[in-house]
């Protein structure tokens, strides 16, 4: 199943929707999206994980590699609507304590605007 990544921009927020499986090949696409200098113009990145069925270590590696950069630029990276299976992968690796993972869009907005 190929990965589909869509971006929606609202004011200073980028809402990124991940659709499909984030494996070794599709994580290259994600890396391209996140490496885009344009994205540094926004202060919040909300990642909609509702249709993200699977994340491989390569996919996790992409988020990890950009984590420090976003933190330094004071860009908030928030995941929401994450499936339990995927959330479990984040938790086992200990990423739930490093990244903000919330249940739904409303909560993500609230935290982003704090």
């Amino acid at each position: 199943m190929p990965m589909k990544i869509t971006q929606e921009i609202k004011d200073s927020t980028v809402i990124m929707t991940l659709d499909g499986e984030l494996d070794a090949s599709s994580s290259v696409l994600l890396d391209e999206e996140l490496s885009d200098p344009e994205i540094m113009k926004y202060s919040k990145i909300l990642v909609d994980c509702q249709n993200l069925h699977y994340i491989s270590s390569a996919g996790l590696g992409v988020f990890i590699s950009h984590l420090q950069r976003f933190e330094d630029a004071q860009i908030k990276l928030i995941f929401f609507n994450m499936q339990d299976k995927v959330r479990n992968v984040f938790e086992i690796l200990g990423l739930d304590l490093l990244m903000t993972i919330v249940s739904d869009y409303e909560e993500a907005r609230t935290i982003a605007n704090e």
């Binding site: 270590s57 390569a58 996790l60 590696g61 990890i64 420090q68 200990g94 304590l97 490093l98």
Partner: protein, 686 residues
């Protein structure tokens, strides 16, 4: 072979004996004729006819075996063989006859005996000539034969042999009964004479030489014909060989075929150049396409292309440009042209924007640009050697006449260039596949090296059992486990998984093993190990890579173990005291995710007292994330369930139960991630 040699000598002997007997018979008869009364004493026509047939059959069969050894397509060789070994017989017979005449003139009276001797020798020479010619023509006639022609020829030989019967039974072949049959034979021979494919394969020079030889052979035929026609029906003769129908028909065939070959050679002489060129093109084409098997280099292929196309187009000047990656093309292989002319032509082509494309100009003078260059040539063809994406070179051909590159020539040239493209492309593919083969070999070595990094045997001790399972999805993997005996009662066991797969994962895995052995020499707590390992890995892991790991230090004297988890899968545990199976839920961040001191806040250490019969299952995510055809994951729950069913077994059996269940779940050939599983069972201390 032995049979053939025997047959040949037998035939030679029977031929010789029958000829000598015939000679004796003839001389005796001549003697009796001479002695008057006109009635020969020895008149046994059946006897003499039988001898004739035996002689003819012997000589023909002998030549039949003899010519079968002739092979190959050296047609001039065949003709020369025919002329030198048989054609000269005619000239010999003429010499003999003339000698006889001179002699009779000299002594002033006819010698019947001598005349018969000469006649008899000439008969022998005639049969030799006919037999040789007959079978050499057979070899040539059947060149490139088909089944029909073979059958037609076989019938011709049978029919011809049948005419010998007429001689045996002393029939007169000129009688009205046989004449129509003979006429039919004549037509049959005419039909056979239309098969001369071999003439087409003669080059111009060979054709001229063959005309001379064929002419000489024709003359031989004429001489024999004349001789036997003049002597025919002479009343002095004891036997008139012109009565032998077989000889007449064989003579007819040999003469007609020689005549036909002579005429065909003569009339195809002007067109032989075209055929020669075509067959040379074909040969060059073949050489080009076979150059891969012969292990030739690209340069040799280009040399071949250059030479072949110049010949095919009859070009007066040419050059070939080799395209080099990111540089000016290099003009190689210049023919009758200098660098200055080349660069002027190139400039012009660049100006017209027709560089490196397929271009034919059959009238350069009509174009003002070319006219200005004052070139001595009037037509030009540019032929690029390229695949859809890659240009390897460009061939330029020039001719000093207008319209030098007609459609036919251009087609041949394009065939050459496309074959070259194919050959070059194949050469590259062959090289690439050799390279790949080497990579595969090296990967095999990598696999062996990595296998040697993973311990095959754990220390066996009375207080615990351990059983391991590890498979890599590719040649090399990112999973690893290892152990280190820290002291007599303490052992450190580590498991880990490097993100990603393949070579880079394998390198980090080896690195992790080094870090484990390096740090644990100092005997430190698991959490301390994780902090230091994180710091060490931070300096060498690429940004997107990380490692998950778990370290256990088991102390059997204290009956407990200490462990820390760095993002690795939760440890599955069976507690025999509580009879419960569960996962240790501890926090811990993977290595290489946070690359500074703050990592210390993200790793926890836990101490646990074990009971005899407790079971610990350590594994990598390849186990729980293994999927079946429906894309469902094996999952932690099923793993836990499996341990619930099997904890009472020995460690080895628990491991196999889990692995078998996993394989049942995924189905065969469904391995996408490295899988590692360690089962440790504590035993009551003795």
């Amino acid at each position: 072979m032995l049979y053939k040699t025997n047959a040949k000598s037998l035939l030679a002997i029977s031929g010789l004996i029958s000829w000598l007997l015939l000679l004796a018979y003839v001389l005796l008869n001549a003697e009796s004729l001479l002695s008057g009364n006109g009635v020969p004493k020895f008149a046994f026509p059946f006897f003499s006819n039988l001898l004739i047939v035996v002689f003819i059959v012997s000589v023909f069969l002998f030549q039949r075996i003899q010519t079968e050894t002739l092979k190959g397509i050296d047609f001039i060789g065949y003709l020369w063989n025919l002329f030198s070994k048989a054609g000269v017989a005619a000239y010999l017979s003429v010499a003999l006859y003339l000698g006889y005449r001179v002699y009779t003139n000299y002594i002033g009276k006819e010698s019947v005996l001598l005349m018969h001797l000469v006649y008899q020798i000439n008969f022998g020479l005639l049969v030799l000539f006919l037999a040789k010619a007959f079978y050499i023509w057979r070899q040539l006639l059947l060149y490139h034969k088909n089944k029909f022609l073979q059958i037609a020829w076989d019938w011709f030989e049978i029919l011809l042999a049948a005419t010998l019967l007429l001689t045996v039974f002393n029939f007169n072949y000129t009688s009205y009964i046989f004449l129509p049959l003979l006429a039919l034979m004549g037509f049959y021979i005419l039909f056979l004479c239309t098969n001369m494919k071999w003439v087409a394969y003669l080059t111009f020079n060979n054709k001229s030489r063959s005309l001379v030889l064929l002419g000489a052979i024709l003359l031989s035929c004429y001489i024999f014909f004349r001789f036997f026609k003049n002597t025919a029906d002479s009343p002095e003769l004891a036997i008139d060989y012109s009565d032998v129908g077989f000889l007449l028909i064989a003579m007819l065939f040999v003469t007609l075929y020689t005549l036909a070959a002579f005429l065909v050679s003569l009339f195809s002489l002007p067109t032989s150049g075209v055929f020669e060129q075509k067959s040379e093109d074909l040969l060059n084409f073949q050489r080009l396409s076979q150059s891969i098997q012969q292990g030739q280099s690209e340069t040799q292929v280009y040399n071949m292309l250059f030479e072949s196309t110049i010949k095919a187009a009859d070009a007066s000047a040419a050059w070939f440009e080799l395209t080099r990656a990111g540089g000016e093309p290099q003009a190689a292989h210049l023919l009758n042209i200098n660098q200055d002319q080349i660069s002027r032509i190139r400039h012009l082509l660049l100006a017209y924007n027709i560089l490196n494309i397929d271009y034919i100009n059959n009238n350069l003078n009509r174009n003002p640009g070319f006219r200005e260059l004052m070139l001595p040539w009037k037509s030009m063809a540019i032929l690029p050697i390229k695949t859809t994406k890659h240009l390897s070179g460009v061939l330029y051909l020039l001719k000093d006449i207008e319209g030098g590159f007609d459609r036919e020539t251009v087609n041949v040239l394009r065939t050459f260039t496309s074959q070259t493209t194919l050959t070059i492309e194949n050469l590259r593919l062959v090289n690439e596949s050799l390279q790949n083969e080497r990579y595969k070999e090296e990967l095999k070595i990598a696999t062996q090296v990595q296998e040697s990094l993973i311990p095959k045997t754990f220390p066996t001790d009375s207080w615990f059992e351990i059983s391991t399972h590890a498979v890599a999805a590719k040649e090399v993997g990112g999973d690893f486990y290892d152990f280190l005996q820290l002291s007599e009662s303490r052992i450190a066991i580590i498991i880990g998984d490097v993100s990603g797969k393949g070579i880079s994962a394998a390198f980090h895995m080896a690195q992790m093993k080094g870090i484990f052995h390096g740090l644990m020499q100092q005997d430190m707590a698991p959490s301390e190990f994780m902090k230091q390992a994180n710091s060490a890995l931070s300096r060498c892991l690429e940004r997107t890579s990380f490692i998950t790991s778990a370290l256990y230090i088991i102390d059997y004297r204290m009956k407990g173990f200490m462990f820390a988890r760095a993002g690795h899968c939760h440890t599955l545990y069976y507690n025999s005291m509580m009879d419960d199976v569960f996962y240790f839920q501890t926090d811990g961040l993977g290595l290489g995710i946070i690359r500074d001191k703050s990592y210390a806040n993200h790793v926890r250490e836990m101490y646990y007292d074990y009971n005899p019969e407790d079971v610990m299952v350590i594994y990598t995510d390849g186990i729980v994330e293994a999927r079946n055809a429906n894309n469902d994951e094996y999952g932690e729950d099923r793993l836990l369930y499996m341990l619930k069913q099997t904890y009472h077994l020995e460690a080895e059996d628990i491991k196999w139960a889990i692995i078998n269940d996993l394989q049942d779940f995924t189905g065969p050939g469904n391995l996408y991630d490295d899988q590692t599983l360690l089962v440790i069972k504590f035993k009551p201390s003795t």
